[in-house]
Subunit: 280 residues, 4 copies
C-alpha cells in the first residue's frame, strides 16, 4: 500500500472549477448544513463560515438556538431553517431542492441525529457526515456520494478497528471500509486518506500540526459542503477540499506559531490561498 | 437595444458627491431600513452595514429580534425602531422625517410586508424595494423615486416574463417594465440593467461571479439606501451604487478567489475602492 | 472672537501623559459609563470601546440589556454594573470609587436620566454629559469638572439659542454658556469649540466631514471619559480627546472615502494615530 | 534577593515545545476553563481566546449565560460544559479527563467559587487559580502544580502582607508564600515574580504599562492554561506564558500608544510574537 498516490497541488490546479462569468447564485446551488448543539454552538459557526467561503451559491443552516447569533455575526450571508431536526420526518418539509447536505459538527451521536441521518440518506443528495453523525451502520446503494469524515477515534468507533492498528495501515483500513460500506471515507490526521467506494484511494500531503486543535474538523466539513456545490465532479470536490484545508494551515505556519491557530482563521486564509490555484 | 450606454467609471467620477467640510449628520439625512426575519436575520446586518458605509447621516433599522445583536456588533452606529411593522398604520408613527427608505432584504413576501409597502409608497420618499418587498403590483404616480431591485427570478415573478425570455433581452424587458409601472428597475445579474421610469436605460459593467452568492443583493440594497442620502440626484445615486458594488467585487478577485467572497466583505472594501473616484 | 486659540498638535504633544512603567490599572482608575437603551444599544458599544482605548485603568458599564452581548464582543475587557439606573438613589450603591463618569450616549432625555444626572452631579467626580443627559438646567458650584458635549442642535435645546444664530458665533455662545452655567462646553461640529467655566476657550482644528455620521459623538464621549482617567490635568484631557478624535478621522480620509467611515473605526485608528504624539 | 534570575528570551527559546508533525488534538489534551459571571462576562472571553491560542488541544468552558454568545463569536472553537458550578459535587460529573484546569477570571470570591476550588484541588490536575478563586487558605500536598496568579492587591488579600510592604520585597514575599503554601505564585505587576513551591524564583523582564488595564490578567490566565497543555514541563509552561504575555505587550508599543491596548489584542499578537522563539 505504499504506492498510494498523493492528490497534489497540480491535481488541484487542473481540477478546481473557475467561477463562470455569467453565473448566478442558483448556478452553484443551495447547501444545507445541520450542525451545532447547546454545548457545541461554535462548530456550526466554523462549518457555516467555511462552507460559504468554498464556492456554494446559498447556505441554509439548521442549528441550535445558541449558534444563531454567532453565525449571523460571522456569516450574515447564511439563512436558517428553524426546528429542522424536529420536523425531519414531517412530509411538508421538502429537502429536495438542496444541492448538497452536511450533518454532524457539534452534534451528539444520539437517536435524534441517527434518525436525521437515516432520513437524509434517502434523499439521494451528496451527503457529508461528520462527528455526531458518524455511527456504526450500513448504507443502501445510491448514486449520490456519501462522505464520512472520521478522525482515527471516530473511525475506530464506527468500524471496530482499534486506533493503533488503524494508524499502522491507514490507507488499507480506509479503503476497506469505503468499499465495504459503499461510501467515501476521509480518514483525517497527518496525511489524510481519501478512499472512494470503488477502492480508489489518495493521500493528502498538505496540513500540519497547527490543525491538531478543536474545530479544524468542523472547518473541513464546511469546506467539503461548499466544494460539492461548485464542482461538477464530486470526487474532485472532496480531494480539493482536503488539500486546500491543509494548504491554509501550511500558509499559517509560514509566519505564525503552529500552537496558535484558531480553526476559523483557516477560512480567513482560504481566499488568498486558493487564488494561485485558479490562475491559468 | 445593443446600444444601451454603460454607466462608466468616468460617469461615477463626475457624479459622485464630495462630502462637504461644513456638513453634519443632518446634512445627509436619516435612512430607514426595514429588513430581516427570524430565518433571515443576516440580510438586515448586510444591508445595514452597507448603508452606513454609503454616505448617509444616520440609520434607523426596523428588524427581527434575531438581527439586533448582530447589527449592534457589526454596525453599533445604527439605531432601531422597535415593532415598526406592527405599528405601520398607527397614526402616531411618523415616518415623514426619513430621507430615504429601503424594505425587503431577508423578508418574506407576505401580507404584512405588502401592507407595509403599501403604506411606504404613500409617503412620497425615495423607496428601495428588494426581495420580500417585490410583488406583482401597480404604482401610483409620485415624484419620489421607487426603485425595484429584482434578480431575474424576482423580475419574472413580478412581471410574468419567463426567466429565459427575460435573459435574452434584459434591457428591453427592464425598460418596458420601468416605463409601464412608472418605477426604476435595477435588473440584477451580470451587466445589471438600470432602467428609469422615462425609459432611460444604462448597463453596469462592473462586478463578477464572486457576487453569485447569497447576501450580495442585500448589500446592494443597503448601498442604494445610503447613496440616496448623500446624492442630490437620485438617478446618480442608483447608478453609482450599482457601479461601486460591482467595483468592490472586482477589487476582491484581484487577490482573492472568486469562490470565496462573503457579501459583508464588499462593504469592507468600499472605503478604499471609493476613494480614487473622489479625487479630482 | 476671531482670535480664539487653536489647541494644536504641539499642545497635544506637550500635554499628553506618558504611561508610567511602574503603573498598574489602579494608577489610572476606574471609569463608569452609563449609556445605551433598547433602541440605541450601539451607542454604549461605541463609547465603551473608545473609553477603554483612551488610557483608563478599568471600565464599568451600566447599560441596556441589548448592549451587553455586543459590548462583551467588542470590548470583553469591560465589566457591567447591572440595574444601576434603577438603584441610582439606593444608599447601598457606592459610586465614590470611580475616577470619572460619563452619561448619555444612546439614552433618552427623560425623567429617569435626569434623576441619574442629578445624583451624579452631587458626587463631585469629573462628569461627562452627552446626548440624552443634556437638558436645560443649572449647576451647583463644584470643584470637579462637569463637561457637556452638545452638537449645535443639543446646544440650542439646552440654552434656547437658535441653531442659526449659534453657528454664526459658536465660540461666543459656547463661552457664554460655559461661564454662565459654570461648566465646560464642548460645542461639536466643524472646528469644535472647547469653552471652560472661567471663559478660557479653544478651537479644535482636526476632524472632517467623515465624522458627519451617527455614532461619532458617542465615540468622543468615550474618549473623553478615558482621557480624564489618564490625565492629571482634566482640561488637557478634554482638549486632547477632542483633538485626537478628529485626528483619527483625518487619518481615515487619507486612504478612505469620507462617505464610508463607521464611528467604531475611529477607535481602531487611535492606537497608531496617538503613538507619534507620545514620542520624545 | 537582588540576584533573582530573569527568565530570559533565550530560556524561552530553549524550552518552548515544537508542535510535533504527527500530533493530533488528543496529544495536547483538553483544558477546562471556569470563568465569567453576569457582571464580568468578558473575562471568560479573554481567557478562552488566550487559552486556545496557547497550544492546547481542546477547550471546554464553564461560564455564565452572558459569556456564551461572545465566546462562540470570538472562539467558536471552544465548547461548553453547562451548569458545571452547580454540579461540581455531583458524582456523575467526571473531570478526570482534563489535562489542566483554570478557575477564577471574572468570578466573585464567594462560597460557590470556594466550594469549586476545594473540589478541583482534589483532582490532582494542574490548576491555575486567579481573581475570584484566590482566597486565604491552605493547600494539601499534591504532585500536580497549583498556580496562583495574584496581583499585589490580591496577594495582600490572601496573605495579609500589606501592599506597600509587599512591593518593596516582591520576590521575597512571593517565594515565602510559595514555600509556605506549597504552591506556585505568579506575583503580577512590573517584573512579575514566579516563585515555585521549592523556593526557586524567577523574574520576568517583558511587559510594560500597556498592560496596566482591566482584562490583561484574564488573558494571562488563559495563556497559562493553554501552555500547561502543550508543555511537558509545567514550570516551563508557567515561565514561558508569563514571558510571552509581556512580549506581546512589548510588540504592541512598538507601533501603538501604550494607553490604547485592549487585552484581547495581546492574543491577536501572540501567533507572530511566538513564531521567532520557535525557530531553531
Ligand atoms: N498533525 C496533523 N497534520 C496534518 N493534519 C492534521 C494534523 N492533526 C489534525 N489534522 C487535521 O485537522 C483536522 C482535525 O479534525 P477533527 O479531529 O475532526 O477536529 C483534520 O482535517 C485533520 O486531518
Ligand atoms: N455573474 C455575475 N456577474 C456580475 N454580477 C453578479 C453576478 N451574479 C450576481 N451578481 C450580482 O450580485 C447581486 C446578487 O443579488 P441577489 O440575487 O439579490 O442576491 C446583484 O447585485 C447581481 O447583479
Ligand atoms: N463636518 C465636520 N467636521 C469636523 N467634525 C465634525 C463634522 N461633523 C461632525 N463632526 C464631529 O463628529 C461628532 C458628531 O457628534 P454627534 O453629533 O453627537 O454625533 C462631533 O465630534 C463633531 O465635532
Ligand atoms: N506596569 C506594568 N508593567 C508590566 N506588566 C504589567 C504592568 N501592569 C500590569 N502588568 C501586567 O498586566 C497583568 C495585570 O493583571 P490583572 O491585575 O489581574 O489585571 C499582569 O500580567 C501584570 O503583570
Ligand atoms: Mg471533528
Ligand atoms: Mg436578493
Ligand atoms: Mg451625539
Ligand atoms: Mg486579574
Amino acid at each position: 500500500m505504499d504506492d498510494i498516490p498523493v492528490w497534489s497541488k497540480d491535481h488541484v490546479r487542473m481540477h478546481l472549477p473557475q467561477r463562470q462569468s455569467g453565473s448566478h447564485k442558483g448556478t452553484y446551488g443551495t447547501a444545507l448544513l445541520i450542525a451545532g448543539s447547546t454545548g457545541m454552538p461554535g462548530a456550526a459557526v466554523l462549518a457555516a463560515k467555511a462552507a460559504m467561503r468554498s464556492g456554494l451559491g446559498k447556505l441554509v443552516v439548521a442549528t441550535a438556538r445558541e449558534s444563531i447569533t454567532p453565525i449571523a455575526s460571522h456569516v450574515p450571508e447564511a439563512t436558517f431553517e428553524p426546528e429542522l431536526m424536529e420536523r425531519i420526518n414531517d412530509p411538508e418539509l421538502d429537502l429536495t431542492s438542496y444541492k448538497a447536505i452536511a450533518i454532524g459538527p457539534g452534534m451528539l451521536p444520539d437517536q435524534k441525529t441517527e434518525a436525521a441521518v437515516e432520513h437524509l440518506l434517502q434523499l439521494g443528495k451528496p451527503l457529508v457526515m461528520d462527528a455526531g453523525a458518524l455511527s456504526e451502520r450500513t448504507y443502501a446503494k445510491t448514486e449520490a456520494p456519501v462522505i464520512l469524515t472520521p478522525h482515527p477515534g471516530e473511525f475506530s468507533r464506527i468500524t471496530g478497528v482499534p486506533v493503533e492498528k488503524l494508524q499502522q495501515q491507514r490507507a488499507h483500513h480506509a479503503a476497506n471500509c469505503a468499499v465495504k460500506l459503499g461510501v467515501t471515507i476521509v480518514l483525517k490526521g497527518q496525511n489524510t486518506v481519501i478512499a472512494f467506494p470503488d477502492g480508489e484511494t489518495y493521500l493528502n500531503a498538505t496540513g500540519n500540526s497547527a490543525l491538531a486543535k478543536g474545530g479544524t474538523g468542523d472547518t473541513l466539513t464546511g469546506m467539503l459542503l461548499g466544494m460539492l456545490c461548485c464542482h461538477d465532479n464530486w470526487r474532485h470536490a472532496v480531494l480539493n477540499a482536503v488539500h486546500l484545508h491543509g494548504a491554509c494551515a501550511d500558509e499559517w505556519i509560514k509566519t505564525h506559531s503552529a500552537h496558535t491557530l484558531l480553526a476559523h482563521e483557516l477560512t480567513e486564509l482560504l481566499p488568498t490561498v486558493m487564488k494561485p490555484y485558479e490562475q491559468q
